[in-house]
């Protein structure tokens, strides 16, 4: 790969990367930022140098993600039913039942296959020893998967010479896998379930992704006002009148789903939806009330949760996390605050974080005061020397920090999209990769084989994907 990039040369690389980004704008593969009543469509900056994962590395990640998703679902089922884990004192009860994301409506409510988290995004980083660590679970409505697929398309349009002959795990069957899972989890007894994607609409910053997912699944993208509940059944408004809906992949938060149950001011939701759901007439994916499991407060307990339910050692470790509600965690954090990253629980998007080694004296004082005022609202972690990857910058190809968000889809079983979203901090030295704070992304390549022991099925699925994109005869030759 180094050789191939070298052959292209820096200037040509830049020109082609710029052309590729221009394609993204034309295609409208954008997210929207709102400022002073103006809507600006931005692209997620694309770095043309792919991030490569070996088959062996991917195997670890895939198994680790599946394990984690299994534990999350078992945990959710438990806390909404018999509450063994809190009764056994493994996780503090108030942390679960006092959590703002805990939904009493879910108690004793049966969920098909016990799958609460149908779509999960697991944020993974790599430390200086090369070990993959989980930074965060996203079990509500994780976004970013559209970029995984679109980045690959972009790569094959703009850099066919980099991709040529590479045996990569394909990413373009995400929609089909997702639809299969959504069909699987539809209410029992429905033969040909109608799946829809529920979006807040065109003004949502992730609208492109909603469009992408609806198209890839081949299902209608609906807004709240397109749905109506009559006699505890959900229908969509079509030209031919009301048509039943059975599974809703919803991309709006719990709070906004049903104004008669949650926020009464929600214009995005569907009055009566939760009632229909509780009657078992419609499936919501993800289920309501998953937010309690991906909370930063619970995150700290995830290794214990995995061991508790699965009797297994976590395949992917957590970043070492100090729980400030526990005396030892608080004491350690106060003593080492200049060296630690202090994070509020229950926030996302990189907000509210204090990075000790980079904070001023005054900022440290503010952080310490906030911590002491409400210790249980905080966790702390060591500064991880995030791994870096070569990235095209104004100063040539430079190392930049990055993370990885694989996406797991679970119906009856869990499937993990090979690769995931590699987010890269485009600024030198920056550790923050969030798109809302200027991060970019890379195409993520999972090599389909790097050892002779690779399974047959993987190379087969690869050649099938090639025959679609490059024509049958060529793929025959490659096999």
């Amino acid at each position: 790969m180094r050789q191939r990039i070298g052959n292209i040369g820096l200037d040509a690389l830049r020109a082609r990367a710029a052309a590729a980004e221009n394609d993204l704008i034309n295609l409208g593969i954008t997210f929207t930022i709102y400022s002073e009543s103006q809507a600006i469509d931005r692209i997620l900056p694309f770095d043309c140098i792919p991030r490569i994962l070996t088959a062996r590395e991917w195997d670890t990640i895939e198994r680790g993600v599946k394990q984690r998703v299994a534990a999350l679902n078992l945990f959710l089922h438990d806390i909404y039913h018999k509450r063994h884990i809190t009764n056994d004192g493994v996780v503090p009860a108030d942390l679960v039942y006092g959590n703002a994301n805990y939904r009493p409506e879910m108690e004793q409510f049966p969920i098909r296959f016990g799958t609460y988290v149908h779509i999960c995004g697991t944020d993974i980083v790599r430390d200086e020893a090369g070990e993959f660590l989980v930074l965060e679970d996203n079990a509500r409505t994780p976004s970013g998967v559209s970029y995984v697929v679109e980045n690959r398309h972009l790569m094959s349009r703009a850099f066919p010479d980099l991709l040529a002959g590479m045996k990569l795990r394909p990413v373009d069957d995400y929609g089909a896998r997702l639809l299969a899972a959504m069909t699987e989890v539809a209410p029992e007894g429905v033969d040909d379930p109608q799946v829809v994607l529920l979006s807040p609409g065109i003004y949502n910053s992730a609208y492109f992704e909603h469009v992408f997912l609806a198209r890839e699944m081949g299902v209608p993208l609906v807004e709240g006002a397109d749905l109506v509940v009559e006699k505890d059944r959900v229908y969509m408004r079509t030209t031919a009148g009301l048509r039943p809906v059975h599974t809703i992949y919803r991309r709006i938060g719990d709070d906004f789903l049903d104004p008669t149950v949650f926020r009464p001011d929600s214009m995005l939701g569907v009055p009566g939806l939760i009632g229909a759901w509780r009657k078992g007439n419609v499936t919501l994916a993800n289920a309501v009330g998953t937010g309690v499991a991906d909370d930063k407060a619970i995150y700290a307990y995830m290794p214990r949760i995995i061991e508790y339910y699965l009797k297994e050692t976590p395949i992917l470790k957590n970043v070492q996390t100090n729980i400030c509600r526990e005396k030892s965690g608080l004491d350690y954090t106060l003593a080492n605050i200049e060296k630690l990253v202090l994070k509020p629980v229950g926030e996302s998007g990189g907000y509210g974080i204090t990075i000790g080694p980079r904070a001023s004296k005054a900022e440290i004082d503010v952080a310490r005061d906030s911590l002491l005022a409400d210790p249980s609202n905080w966790i702390s972690q060591p500064v991880i020397s995030l791994s870096v990857a070569p990235t095209l910058t104004d100063d040539g190809i430079q190392p930049r920090h990055l993370d990885l968000r694989p996406f797991a889809v679970t119906g009856r079983d869990t499937w993990v999209l090979p690769g995931g979203l590699s987010r890269v901090a485009m600024k030198k030295g920056s550790l923050v990769v969030n798109s809302s704070q200027g991060g970019g992304s890379k195409d993520t390549w999972v090599l389909s084989e790097d050892a002779p022991s690779q399974s047959q099925s993987q190379s087969q699925s690869q050649s099938q994907s090639q025959s679609q994109s490059q024509g049958q005869s060529q793929s025959q030759e490659q096999r």
Binding site: I25, N26, L27, G28, D192, G201, I202, Y207, V211, A214, R215, P220, L221, V222, E223, A225, D226, M236, R237, T238, T239, A240, R243
Partner: protein
């Protein structure tokens, strides 16, 4: 594979309006172009005023405070994004509809719309002055035509296609009557030979604006009267922008919605089309003109508004009659 694919009411509405806005944009460009060409020394203001009256924009234009000059009218229609009847506004609306339709329309349709929109919103004063204007009108027409062609070649032909075509054809019929109305108003027939000559030139201009000049030449013969032009624009069975051809298409698409997709709410619309056709073909064009062309065209326009409502009410999610104006 199940072909009984439901169409969201909101999508039907979006397709209908996207098509209407684009058709409107093309007609506005045609109108600006023909107005520019009509500009005869000393009577410029009169020509541009006609353009404002066609769109019933007297009030909106006056609010902007500028005098009735060619420059102000061009700016009003080509650059002014705060004017809801301007080309940039219509394009903004078309794109917003396209955005809601992204799950449905082809990627190529969206991409062309996106690029077209960006190009049109970056226009400056320099693009609408002097010899640039006609070129710009050509580019706008071409932008819409590219959309039409891409749609024809890539858009899936289920129910949505029928609603798209209905929007386009209703708008096109409406625009043809408006252009005819305003020109006829300006050019009351019967005058000296010299005046007649000038009129003939101007009617030629109207036909050219609608891309119908040469076709008209083929069907009209050596000499023609304004009534022949009116007959051509209203009743010709082959001219794609004639009201009759638009009505034929509207009827076809409504009937298909009924027969192929079982949408029985089409009955009121189909009856409206019959009424429109009866009005159009029930008496000679001479008689229509003698009885008062303006009143006749006004009636057609009102019927088209009712027709849109008769499609919107049964099939769209948020039919807002005000949007039809």
């Amino acid at each position: 594979m199940s072909r009984d694919m439901p169409l969201l009411a909101r999508y039907a509405e979006g397709l209908f309006w996207m098509a209407r806005y684009l058709e409107r944009i093309e007609n506005l460009a045609r109108l600006v172009d023909v107005t520019q060409n009509f500009e005869s020394p000393g009577r410029e203001a009169e020509s541009w005023l006609a353009m404002i009256r066609i769109n019933a924009d007297e009030e909106g234009f006056a609010e902007r405070g500028g005098g009735l000059t060619a420059e102000n009218v061009k700016r009003f229609y080509l650059l002014d994004r705060s004017n809801p009847t301007s080309i940039p506004s219509a394009l903004e609306s078309a794109r917003t509809n396209a955005r809601t339709l992204r799950p449905l329309i082809s990627t190529e349709m969206w991409m062309q719309m996106n690029v077209f929109h960006r190009d049109m919103l970056s226009l400056t004063e320099a693009d609408v002055t002097g010899d640039q204007l006609s070129r710009l009108c050509g580019k706008i027409k071409e932008g819409v035509q590219a959309h039409t062609g891409i749609t024809e070649g890539t858009f899936f032909r289920d129910q949505g296609w029928e609603f798209y075509q209905l929007g386009r054809l209703i708008e096109r019929a409406d625009q043809t009557t408006r252009l005819l109305d305003i020109r006829y108003h300006l050019l009351v027939p019967g005058g000296k030979e010299e005046r007649k000559q000038a009129e003939a030139t101007q009617w030629g201009g109207v036909l050219r604006a609608l891309a119908g000049y040469h076709a008209f030449r083929r069907v009209a013969g050596a000499t023609f009267t304004p009534v022949d032009v009116v007959a051509f624009l209203l009743r010709d069975t082959a001219f794609p922008r004639s009201v009759a051809v638009c009505l034929e298409g509207i009827e076809l698409h409504l009937s298909r919605l009924r027969s192929r997709y079982g949408l029985r709410g089409t009955v009121a619309g189909l009856e409206r089309v019959e009424e429109l056709r009866a009005g159009l073909l029930g008496r000679s064009v001479d008689k229509i003109v003698n009885d008062g062309l303006h009143i006749f065209l006004d009636g057609v326009q009102r019927d088209l508004i009712l027709l849109a409502a008769e499609i919107g009410t049964p099939f769209f999610r948020d039919w807002r009659p005000a949007a039809a104006a």
